[in-house]
């Protein structure tokens, strides 16, 4: 493959425009800052006696994320391919460290965080990215045998189960489902035999059922999802408050900062349910705008994947795009009651350091891939 700079010198051709993706990202980040400030200010003032405490932290993570983005935008893709396996293993170990006393931190019945210099980090976020890079590299390596079962699809699910076990200990079902969905998409794009995929799916259903029903809070979430208004003061309080917030925005919203649902009526209004506040304050207009920007990023990501030549690059583009796209769409679905509640943030908009950092690193890789596109 002639991916040399020689061609560039002979015919100064237009490079693939990664700038539009960056623009879309900046739009989302900027809007996210406004929404996080709007939804967290009063909570922050109440909890930390400082209106700006959480927004300052968010600003710090955007700065850190920008560095991550720049690093991955400029990293040599061959290096990334080489480091796929060690990166994945390192991430797995990092996830396990949450169980190390004085190092790991727990909140809300889950042990997902490690604490470092006063900042907490959620290593399972990093594991998602490492998993995608690893799977992309592995698909390229096994390109010839993807149609086979034992050499094709099976090893991927073996790796998935390892990652899943590490994460179920926390427990972090949302992240497990996320990497499962992304894995399925990548394998599908990577040319796996559909009958094999179907067979694995049937095998997974009973275990998925067991995992969901084992924890009572999960089965309650399913109940709350199926008939939210019946339990509006109980298990479905949050989703009903989310409906009220999102719906009350109407066409144009109450105006940025003018919503009332963040006044402790809607729990997690600056994190997982920030999109409800977007709907409340920016209305159908704002919510659709955010949906369209994500749609645009997905479109560009898929476009890049189609235009790339190497399998690793292609798979990486598909994986990262579908990860960000799926996480955004699933989060919106949870907020609007299309899917049961899961602990997933809205990329680039929700408050949350680790997910923001890792998501921005992923976009950095996508921008890096954009540079590889030949025109």
């Amino acid at each position: 493959m002639s991916r040399g700079s020689q061609v560039d010198l002979i015919t100064p051709r237009k490079k693939y425009d990664g700038g539009v993706i960056l623009t879309a990202l900046i739009l989302l980040l900027a809007f996210g800052v406004v929404m996080v400030f709007s939804s967290s200010g009063i909570y922050s003032d109440y909890r930390y006696k400082n209106l700006y405490y959480l927004i300052m932290k968010q600003a710090f993570w955007i700065g850190t994320g920008s560095m991550g983005l720049i690093f991955f935008k400029n990293i040599n893709m061959n290096k990334l391919r080489e480091f796929a396996t060690p990166f994945f293993i390192a991430s797995l170990i990092l996830v396990i460290t949450v169980f190390v006393p004085y190092f790991g931190k727990s909140a809300g019945g889950a042990r997902r965080w490690i604490s470092l210099f006063g900042f907490t980090f959620e290593p399972s976020e990093l594991l998602k990215l490492a998993f995608i890079i690893y799977v992309a590299a592995a698909i390229e390596k096994r390109e010839k045998v993807m149609k086979a079962f034992m050499n094709g699809i099976a090893p991927f699910f073996f790796i998935f189960v390892i990652a899943a076990i590490v994460m179920i200990l926390q427990p972090d079902l949302g992240s497990i489902l996320m990497i499962l969905f992304v894995l399925c998409i990548m394998l599908f794009a990577g040319g796996v035999n559909l009958y094999h995929a179907f067979a694995v799916g049937i095998l997974l259903i009973p275990s998925a059922y067991l995992i969901i029903m084992k924890a009572s809070y999960r089965s309650k979430r399913i109940q709350a999802f199926l008939d939210p208004w019946a339990y509006s003061q109980g298990i479905s309080y949050q989703i009903v408050q989310s409906f009220i917030a999102f719906g009350s925005g109407g066409l144009f919203g109450k105006g940025l900062g003018k919503g009332t649902q963040k006044l402790f009526y809607l729990p997690e209004s600056h994190t997982d349910f920030i999109f409800a506040i977007v709907g409340e304050e920016a209305g159908l207009l704002g919510a659709t705008g955010v949906l369209l920007v994500f749609g645009f990023i997905i479109w560009k990501g898929i476009d890049i994947a189609l235009k790339l030549d190497e399998t690793f690059d292609k798979m990486l583009a598909v994986g990262i795009t579908s990860w960000i796209g799926l996480q955004a769409f699933i989060n919106m679905s949870v907020v609007t009651g299309l899917l049961p509640t899961k602990g997933l943030t809205l990329p680039f908009i929700s408050y949350g350091g680790s997910s923001l950092l890792v998501n921005m690193m992923a976009v950095g890789i996508l921008l890096n891939l954009a540079k590889q596109v030949r025109r």
Binding site: I244, A245, S248, L251, F264, Y265, T288, G295, I302, F329
Partner: protein
Amino acid sequence: MRLRIRIIAGLFIFFGVALFARFLYLQVYTGGQMGNLSDRQSAVVQEINAERGFIYDAKGRELAVSVEVPSIYAITYQVKDAEKTAEKVAEVLGANKTEILQKLKSGKSFVWLCRKTEYQKGKQLKALKLPGINMVLETKRFYPKGMLASHVLGFVNADALGCEGLEYAFGKYLNGKNGRLVSVKDKKGRIVASGEVEYEAPQNGYNLVLTLDEGVQSIAEEELNNVFEKFHAKEATVLVMNPATGEILALANRPNYDPNSFNEYPPAALKNRAVSAVYEPGSTFKAVTMAAAFTEKTISESDLLDCENGEWQIYGHKLSDHVKYGVMNFRDVIANSSNIGTAKVGQMLGKEKLFKYARNFGFGDKTGIGLAGELNGKLRTPDKWSGLSIYTVSIGQEISATPLQVVSLYATIANKGKLMQPMLVKAVKSKDGKIVKEFAPREVRQVVSAEVAERMMRVLKAAVENGTGKEASVSGLSLAGKTGTAQKFDPVIKKYSGSKYVASFAGFAPAENPKLAILVVVDEPNASKGIYYGGSVAAPAFGKIAKRALRYLERKEHDDIVRNN
């Protein structure tokens, strides 16, 4: 591989479209409903009361005002020691401690402890500086003159809405529009300082300037009280009107009430009998028969009538006079109030003509004074009259009228035959004195000619000078008027009662240059003393009111002239 990637893109498009559809459903279809739910849980609406318009008499004296009084409320979560707080609050307010404690522990974040209490109590509580106990000034209606003109003014209920009288009838001017302060509270009930605040300024109500004169009203009330108490009457009414304009200068009824504490009175006391009760006007109605007879040239003052020596049989019915009269001229028939003589004139007129004049004077129809509950009175059309009716109607029986209709009749005679629409409100003014609406005197119709009115005045003057109205006369003042003594129809025995009367006197003063038309009605004066005639019961009160009111108005006018120079 490319195809599969395109399929993935297709799935995302499908997902995105589904999400957009869901947005539409939630924000457009259920948007309004969700908005209501959101407001219901987070909005705190505080009403800001508009100041109700004041009511002034014709000379600008306050009859009804709104004063600011403190209302005490508690923000329960700010209260430190509920026991102690309740004890102290109860002590100052003179209330029950356990009741206050219950309110403090009701779980609501905001509770009223006492609405519209005395100023002093509010001040005392404020001095105690109890955490969580606050006060706000609210307006309360206050009638500084107490019972004076209560039936004209009406009163205001606990919700600050006018009931009865002008408070009700002119409510749309007086009310104003309450303002609102909508603030936002968080889930824990705390008002969010930075929250969006919606402020709607209250629009104060308009003031009313009445035609009523406090001086004339006081005189009328005082004299009405005297006659009401002296004769142990059941009810009584007085009306004083300016005949040239229809302006009512005084209106009072007994029993009456204090609008500051209206709920302590029985419903009967609240009734404005001057417009909301009817009675048989009796002999005072003979003026209508006279007006018809003069205009139709049926008879003149000096024409003679046979009064049948006090007893006359018609249609098997006995018509009688209180004194046995023989042959008298028509002037004396009216002056002495002979039923037989007047009935004969009525018969000469015929029922159509009598009805027409009664109607033109305003009987059987509302005067349009604008008070709620005004009655029409009963005046049947001639086709429904029996053969006897022409005799009874011409002496004021078989019909009923409100006191206001009767005083209008005499005001019309005094005003050279012109019927003026009675009025109570001169003008509606904004708080800064701008005129919002002005009510000019309105002529309803010329009922009789000025010449006929003049002739009637002379007859009515004779009635006071040497007829049944003698007891009305006061020295130095010429009066014109007519007595009325009507037996009350007793619904129990379906006959006119032998012991229940309505004694009245209607007329105007001074006779030649009338300034005032006055009616005094006394319902069921205690007949056991044998005094129940209008001439004895109502006429003296009429005379006193006329004299005192005229003197008051003259002096007042004089004062005004002095002040203007």
